[in-house]
């Protein structure tokens, strides 16, 4: 029997791996990939809480389903923005889009 804290440690590690990737990467696509890792670690938490602490309820499962739906919408919007940025700047490096600074 695995205690619930081991699953939470796994998801916390995955979240901070995603955070590390998000702050060290400069490419928009790899930043989006790190974001997906972070969202997935949250989903693991919700399912683990639902299974181990409140097995009779469905709240964690539904949160996971809605997070997956929002993540899919977010990925689609992000990729359309990335493609638009590539069209105008010929690069998807975050350092290239600085028009709003000036």
């Amino acid at each position: 029997m695995i205690p619930v804290s081991h699953i939470l440690i796994l998801s916390a590690t995955l979240f901070f791996i995603g955070m590390y990737g998000f702050v060290t990467r400069k490419n928009l696509i790899t930043m989006l990939m790190s974001l997906e890792l972070m969202l997935n670690s949250v989903n693991i938490n919700f399912v683990a809480f639902n299974k181990y602490l409140y097995p009779g309820k469905l709240d964690g499962i539904f949160f996971t389903i809605f997070i997956i739906a929002v993540a899919a919408a977010e990925a689609a919007v992000a990729i359309s923005i990335i493609i638009n940025l590539y069209r105008t700047h010929k690069t998807i490096d975050v350092g290239a889009a600085t028009e709003l600074k000036h």
């Binding site: 916390a12 060290t24 696509i29 990939m33 299974k51 009779g56 469905l58 929002v70 919408a73 493609i83």
Partner: protein, 186 residues
């Protein structure tokens, strides 16, 4: 150690190692493939937790949808073999420090918290999920379901508007002005 525990630690190792490779690999396409394996490992973890429906959704939406979109966009932006620009080493050190500090803080909180585990059986049959999805009363999720539907519709329309080529309208305008001048000449 039972087989149940061994499977969990194998899945955890798969998820964490491929996740770490995914955020550190300098080539974009390779890190997308590592992300794919990490997501498959998470789907395996859902199977291990007996949440088969979530595992199926994970495979069909993340592995079959989002990773494919990411790979498509890598090819559309011609980044497949290119190495990404790395940031300044000092900033990398600070990013590692921030991640490690966050990890330690979370570990301490999780290990000191006394979780009261329930002994009830985890019954997750799919008709129950389907009924709760459209139920309006106690334990029903029909309002968030509708909100997510609207969100998906708005996101779809937004994607089309943002990614649409603005030059598509130009030939039509040219044709229109041409026809107007033709009418004028006539």
């Amino acid at each position: 150690m039972t087989a149940h525990q061994i499977i969990f630690y194998c899945l955890a190792a798969l998820i964490l190692i491929t996740g770490l490779l995914s955020v550190t690999c300098p080539k974009v396409f390779r890190s997308a493939i590592f992300l794919l394996f990490s997501l498959i490992g998470i789907a395996g973890l859902y199977f291990w937790m007996e949440a088969e429906f979530i595992a199926a959704v994970q495979i069909s939406v993340y592995v079959g949808g989002i990773v494919v979109i990411i790979i498509f966009s890598i090819f559309l932006t011609e980044q497949a073999g290119k190495e990404t620009r790395s940031i300044h080493p000092v900033r990398t050190v600070f990013a590692v420090l921030a991640a490690l500090l966050g990890m330690i803080l979370t570990y301490l909180t999780v290990l000191n918290y006394d979780f009261v585990e329930s002994n009830e059986a985890f019954d997750l049959n799919i008709p129950r999920i389907g009924n709760a999805m459209v139920a309006t009363g106690e334990g029903g999720f029909s309002l968030p379901f509708e909100v997510v539907s609207i969100l998906l519709l708005a996101a779809m329309i937004g994607c089309i508007v943002v990614a649409m080529r603005s030059s598509i309208t130009k030939p039509d305008e040219k044709k229109l002005t041409q026809s107007i001048t033709e009418i004028d000449e006539a």
